[in-house]
């Protein structure tokens, strides 16, 4: 007899649980849909400001950047993503100085660990929010970040901009 009860209670309990499931899906049938219509929504699509799209070197309106070519970012990088080329020159006072000639960044091998931006003592590099980075040829992922004809800003900026590394990293830079 007990067995019979199990049979019927199992049957009705089962049917009831199925009906609860059906009710749930039917309710969701009429809720707002969550699909994002990309690329139609490109204009409204806003990435968060901390999103790491690709490494960039911001230039000001005079085509000046903040990179002095010290190569700390290159040393910090675990993947050899960054190649900094620099040269020595003599300035007006006859002092030997170093300047950046070419800053090469390979997006294809970057793992966005932020060690380079944290290592930079001048806040010269940062990540931007671009995310449409697909290209057909791997070679096009290698980017030169300093713009042609650009040079380092005349007065080296001592104060650091907001997104760059915290105070702790100043020590690392000086080493």
């Amino acid at each position: 007899m007990n067995n019979d009860n199990n049979y019927f209670s199992g049957l009705f309990g089962g049917v009831k649980s199925l009906c609860i499931g059906l009710k749930t899906t039917m309710r969701e049938y009429f809720t707002k849909k969550i699909t994002e219509q990309y690329p139609e929504n490109r204009n409204e699509l806003q990435m968060f400001d901390r999103f790491r799209g690709s490494l960039v070197m911001p230039h000001n309106e005079n085509n000046e950047h903040k990179c002095v070519g010290c190569g700390l970012c290159q040393t910090a990088c675990p993947n050899d993503t960054i190649k900094v080329e620099s040269e020595f020159y003599e300035d007006a006072d006859g002092k030997k100085k170093k300047r950046l000639t070419r800053y090469e960044y390979n997006l294809g091998s970057c793992m966005f660990c932020q060690l380079c931006t944290r290592a930079c003592p001048h806040g010269a590099i940062t990540f931007d929010q671009s995310f449409e980075n697909a290209v057909f040829d791997r070679a096009r992922l290698v980017r030169v970040l300093n713009q042609p004809g650009s040079h380092v800003a005349e007065k080296p900026v001592v104060k650091k901009p907001a997104p760059a590394a915290p105070a702790a990293k100043a020590g690392e830079a000086n080493a």
Partner: protein, 361 residues
């Protein structure tokens, strides 16, 4: 009420009278025309159902579904079909080439034959004779041969397991389908689909007329029909998380396309049969006493009624599919043998009593 027989009689008259064809030639021409019409309808319905499934499923899942090709993604299925037509059919080494190629055609043939059994409108039955129900059951079970052959000839362990599961499942559930059909035949007293429909047009839909046993039979039919179509939650012959694609793992291009087509058409056939047997086929909804309403309903042509009812059932089946997880093979079999078969036997007896004592409406 629109009667399709008027059109067929007129066509026949034109062929024999106006064109002066002999009787055999007229019938031959008509047969070819009907066959073409069936195939076209078959493709059109498959495309429509695939689109419907994708949209309905998306809406259950808080998504929008296809939106990119054509307005609201309406051309998506056409592009998919086109893609499938252009894909290479890959011949595998160490398989039984002949059986491997034949299997999808068997499946598609079986489903087309059953498709032809559907009563579309008053006077629009392609295959209709006095034991139509038997014919329907017989040809619908041909498909399982195709599935078993596909599994066997693919020389793939996944395919073989999938096919064996499918065989066990379809053969078991055939029993429930037969039993529920028998229950309804008990009520209508005929095995011809056209007469079942005509009867319901006069006496009201079977599901209302037969009340409790008919509703029970309807539910059992939906469950068993879903299992016959190998659709979720009974899709374990092709359960992708276990057997990748089950019996059609090794098929590509249009050979796979045939399975895909047959799956959706079987869904429609299952729904159409439910509409025929339980929901009155092409018979309009009539409510006793509301003559004005009944008259308006009667103006809607029968095929609209039929297709509308079938799509309603299709929606029910999709709702089931997109809510439940998949069953395990032993659960599928115990559901059939421990629950559905005893209940439908009991239901058959109940219906017999109802009919014998005239307790129906």
């Amino acid at each position: 009420m629109f009667n399709f027989q008027d059109i067929t009689t007129w066509i026949h008259g034109m062929l024999t009278g106006t064109l002066g064809l002999p009787e055999w030639a007229a019938i031959l021409t008509e047969s070819i025309g009907v066959a073409l019409a069936v195939i076209t309808l078959y493709a059109v319905f498959a495309i429509f159902l695939i689109y419907m499934e994708r949209k309905v499923c998306a809406f259950f899942q808080c998504r929008l579904g296809p939106m990119r090709v054509g307005p609201w993604g309406t051309l998506q299925v056409f592009s998919d079909v086109f893609k499938m037509l252009t894909k290479e059919i890959i011949n595998l080494r160490q398989t039984d080439r002949f059986l491997h190629n034949m299997a999808p055609f068997l499946v598609v043939t079986a489903s087309m034959l059953t498709f032809a059994c559907l009563p579309w409108n008053k006077g629009a039955h392609i295959i209709d004779f006095n034991v139509g129900v038997f014919f329907f059951l017989a040809v619908s079970s041909l498909g399982v041969v195709g599935i078993l052959l596909a599994g066997w000839s693919s020389n793939n362990k996944y395919s073989l397991i999938g096919a064996m599961r499918s065989g066990a499942q379809i053969i078991s559930y055939e029993l429930s389908i037969g039993m529920t059909m028998l229950t309804m035949i008990c009520l209508t007293g005929t095995m011809s689909f056209s007469e079942i429909c005509a009867d319901q047009a006069v006496n009201g839909w079977n599901i209302f007329r037969g009340h409790l046993p008919a509703v029970l039979a309807f539910i059992i039919y939906l469950i068993a029909g879903n299992a016959e179509c190998n659709r979720g939650p009974f899709d374990l012959p092709e359960s992708e998380s276990e057997l990748t694609a089950g019996y059609h793992t090794e098929y590509s291009g249009m050979h796979f396309g045939y399975y895909y087509l047959a799956e959706y058409l079987n869904l429609f056939i299952c729904a159409g049969m439910a509409a025929t047997i339980f929901l009155g086929g092409w018979a309009p909804l009539t409510i006793a006493g509301l003559d004005g309403f009944n008259e308006v309903m009667a103006y809607i042509p029968g095929f609209v009624w039929f297709i509308g009812k079938a799509i309603f059932v299709v929606f029910l089946l999709m709702w089931l599919r997109w809510t439940f997880p998949r069953l395990r093979i032993d659960q599928i079999l115990s559901l059939e043998w421990k629950y559905l078969v005893p209940i439908s036997m009991f239901n058959l007896v109940l219906m017999a009593l109802v009919v014998a004592y005239g307790l129906h409406f």
